[in-house]
């Protein structure tokens, strides 16, 4: 399950399960959203993005869902593997602003073999 506290939110799953990582964004004018994966000792790596004129986008084993009504973004990972263990960040961007994305807090995904 998912736990939120003083430390980084953590989601623990078993290998083979589907994972859902959630993100609430703050700016209702944001029109571009990105998910990044950060492995230990590495920089954030682009996974998938979605524009505000869409509500769903699929990649390889990943799906991003966007609900603009409640300003919510989710990343679904199918058949989670140990290599998916990492910290996942959502980022929002507003085209009318500085083009600098604002990063969310991050969620640590732990996949147990």
């Amino acid at each position: 399950g998912e736990s939120v506290g003083l430390h980084l939110p953590t989601l623990s799953v078993q290998e083979g399960d589907n994972s859902i990582i959630n993100c609430a964004y703050s700016n209702s004018a944001s029109d571009y959203f990105i998910w990044y994966k950060q492995e230990s000792g590495k920089g954030p790596q682009f996974i998938i993005d979605i524009r505000s004129n869409m509500d769903k986008r699929q990649g390889q084993r990943v799906t991003v869902l966007l609900n603009k009504t409640v300003k919510h973004l989710s990343l679904q990972i199918a058949a989670t593997q140990p290599g998916d263990s990492a910290v996942y960040f959502c980022a929002e961007n507003w085209g009318g602003g500085s083009y600098i994305p604002t990063f969310g807090r991050g969620t640590s995904l732990i996949v147990h073999p």
């Binding site: 990105i34 000792g41 920089g43 954030p44 083009y99 600098i100 994305p101």
Partner: protein, 113 residues
């Protein structure tokens, strides 16, 4: 390999010293960034340069001075290092314009003794 590369990967130094972190990208991007990531993994934008010109300077102490000799390089110089500067610093780049994901380096872990 095409990438964002930053050096050094680790930097251990004493309070009061001056240090620099170098960043280079060979992706042909026009925009480069510096981020600071704290111990809770929160990513905060520090600076953004577009074609060697500063476009974003968040509330960062003026002890931090970015330098962009050309659009492929954005170096970060820090004067009079303080304990609170201990963090991981990430360089990133992206093409100009909205709806463009950023490409990150693998970070420089700065530890102040």
């Amino acid at each position: 390999d095409t990438a964002v590369s930053q050096t050094p990967k680790y930097l251990v130094t004493q309070m009061g010293n001056d240090k620099s972190i170098k960043c280079e990208q060979n992706l042909g991007h026009d925009t480069m960034y510096w981020y600071k990531q704290d111990s809770k993994k929160f990513l905060k934008i520090m600076f953004s340069y577009n074609n060697k010109e500063l476009i974003i300077n968040e509330t960062v102490p003026n002890r931090f001075s970015p330098k962009s000799p050309d659009k492929a390089h954005l170096n970060l110089h820090i004067n009079s290092l303080e304990l609170g500067d201990s963090a991981v610093y990430f360089c990133a780049s992206s093409p100009t314009g909205n709806n463009q994901p950023q490409h990150f380096g693998d970070g420089t872990r700065l530890s102040i003794l």
